[in-house]
Symmetry: C2
Subunit: 228 residues, 2 copies
């Protein structure tokens, strides 16, 4: 059994706050847990906020955070960030931020996850994984899903190549996006409107708890992608 | 708290088997649970199997199941199915099927989900949701995720428009792909190699338990899509 446990009672996070401490104060973590934290909270704690007083300013921010614009429709940009993520408006987001401000993506979300993991280990004495999640749209399908933009101590991708399927034949499905699915699972326990920005995922396959990186394992190189 | 409970001990499913009965025999379902079943099991029960003895026959099947090929690289087709799904090889899949056979997608996966839901209601006297899941790749990101190809009694998409965020401002993130995230969450409790094709998801927001359809709510119309 896997459990998705919302971390209740987190305060509004401000620049300089130590996210790991806020979580450790409110969750009883165990070895093998994976803590999912939303990008919004991480960006606020890291001070990745920018003033926005007009639509023109918002657009300039989106352009500043984009290395390439893939598609544009009205005020929606689908663009690629410096991290290699393809998402709406390069991750520049005005919701759940104080009026007049926008949250930008963390500069290095894998490093953000690693720092939270290291601090949780030091503070609570537990060996956990951490996923930093964000909410992305997808081509071809309506509705948004949470994905992992950074991870530490949990597999970005689990490689099943060489393992036999239930009939003993080699698997065709080979690489499972573990961290992305952990992010999506956690979102079910958050509820976008209820302001719960952290969830503990308990009971994952211990084989998935290893050093990893979204940037290295999930971001598909430009020249290997069929849709860029 | 949300729980992901694998349904253990399901037998190899054959054409004509009643999937709902196999699950009801092995899971103690409660009102409000959502049962996730893999497409492979549903396709086998519905007899959606085709003989494949050569690479040429596999390719003919892929072409038969495709209404449009978006991209092609070597023997991988990214194509659109009659349902409007965009996925690898139009869902034609040789893994976890007997040698010499391929599984095709159910003809109407929303209807498949509805039949399972209705039968679970009749058999076990419970009001549950059902998601039929399949494993899809994504542009721009490595690793596969489970998504919902059919659903009944659980929201394909939850519309948060008009709801305030935690700061009391209107939400920018508006439509959450609930059924897709439920499918991804369930996959974490399946493990592709271990042959657990059904998971009970317990504790979802009751507001999400409503009549719905992947085809009507998630499949994005051709002319609204920026990447087709």
């Amino acid at each position: 059994m896997i459990e998705l446990l919302p971390v209740e009672g987190l305060p509004e996070v401000r620049p300089g706050d130590v996210v790991a401490d806020l979580i450790a104060d409110r969750a009883e973590l165990r070895d093998g847990d994976v803590v999912v934290v939303t990008q919004k909270v991480v960006s606020k704690a890291e001070g990745r906020l920018a003033p926005v007083s007009s639509e023109g300013e918002r657009r300039r921010l989106v352009e500043q955070e984009s290395v390439r614009v893939l598609r544009r429709r009205a005020d929606l940009f689908i663009s690629e960030t410096a991290h290699g993520f393809v998402c709406a408006n390069a991750g520049v987001d005005l919701s759940n931020v104080e009026t007049g401000w926008a949250a930008l993506l963390p500069i290095d979300p894998d490093l953000s996850a690693r720092r939270i993991r290291d601090r949780l280990r030091a503070r609570a004495g537990v060996e956990v994984g951490v996923v930093v999640s964000d909410t992305f749209g997808r081509p071809w399908r309506n509705g948004l899903v949470d994905v992992a933009i950074g991870c530490a101590g949990v597999a970005a991708v689990a490689d099943l190549r060489g393992l036999p399927d239930a009939q003993g034949r080699p698997m065709e499905v080979t690489e499972i996006a573990v961290a992305d699915q952990v992010a999506s699972a956690a979102e079910l326990a958050m509820g976008k409107a209820s302001g719960i920005p952290a969830v503990v995922v308990r009971g994952l396959d211990p084989a998935w708890l290893r050093e990893s990186s979204i940037r290295a394992e999930v971001v598909r190189p430009y020249d290997e992608d069929l849709f860029r």
